[in-house]
């Protein structure tokens, strides 16, 4: 995984938020590299985790606070908004961005179904040889993150 490879995740992330067709522009901030075992990693209230296998190994995680996810559900005309729906959505966003990455990596980029957690202190077995990219976004003044940790 290198700086060029990461672009497909940025594109997928942007594509998802632009598909919501709101007046709010999504801002993708510059990605940076950080060790996901680092305690300073900003896992937020809800995290959707996709395990990757095949051509690459590791995980793709989307993490966000409830407010941004509630706003998306409102945009999708969901009512009432429940915790179950919020968990469903965070997993679906992780799934969509990961699946869209096959545009670059092809069919051998195998993705799991989403695992959703509300635990801020996530421990997930990661390959030792991966670079861990953090991609921050800002939407409606709220920050969320995509973590791409792939060998």
């Amino acid at each position: 995984m290198n700086d060029q490879d990461i672009q497909v995740f940025i594109t997928g992330f942007r594509r998802y938020f632009e598909s919501l067709k709101t007046d709010f522009r999504v801002v993708i901030e510059p990605p940076y590299i950080k060790d996901l075992r680092d305690r300073e990693i900003p896992f937020l209230d809800y995290t959707g985790i996709i395990a990757i296998d095949g051509k690459s190994h590791g995980v793709v995680c989307f993490t966000a606070n409830g407010h941004i996810l509630e706003s998306i559900l409102e945009r999708l005309n969901e009512a009432p908004i429940t915790r179950e729906l919020i968990c469903d959505l965070v997993g679906e966003i992780a799934n969509t961005v990961s699946g869209n990455a096959r545009e670059k990596f092809g069919r051998e980029f195998l993705i799991s179904v989403p695992i959703v957690t509300t635990n801020h202190d996530i421990v997930y077995p990661l390959p030792a040889d991966c670079r861990n990219y953090v991609i921050p976004i800002v939407w409606q003044s709220e920050r969320a993150y995509l973590f791409v940790c792939l060998s």
Partner: protein
């Protein structure tokens, strides 16, 4: 017009239902797994099935095979996050009538649905 929506995400199932409701589709069944979809389809032949691929248990392509076994003329629209040509070509070879990538664009969904109905 009978529609079966198959996706493990309830948010996605409801979004598809709402988008197609505005196109006049009101007889809608939903399934969260491939297994449930095959069970539902075997007792009620739907005019159109929208089908996700990445699901727990039976994946969408296996589910597609089973639906085509039940009805070789089934009209199945794949709606998946898997944005690669090989998967789309494979799905079409196995009998899918169309392939849309997530995130869902409501206008594209309605257009694909209309094309399926005219087929």
């Amino acid at each position: 017009m009978k529609l079966l929506i198959v996706d493990d995400s309830s948010v996605v199932r409801r979004a598809i239902e709402r988008d197609l409701e505005s196109a006049g589709i009101t007889d809608v069944d939903q399934a969260a797994t491939g297994e449930d979809a095959v069970s539902l389809y075997s007792i009620k032949i739907h005019d159109v099935v929208t089908l996700d691929i990445t699901m727990p248990g039976m994946d969408g392509l296996t589910c597609l095979d089973k639906i085509i076994e039940i009805n070789p003329n089934a009209r199945v629209l794949i709606i998946s996050a898997l944005r690669d040509k090989a998967t789309a070509v494979d799905a079409i070879k196995r009998g899918a009538s169309g392939f849309l990538c997530k995130p869902i664009n409501p206008a594209e969904l309605k257009e694909a649905f209309q094309l399926l109905m005219e087929d």
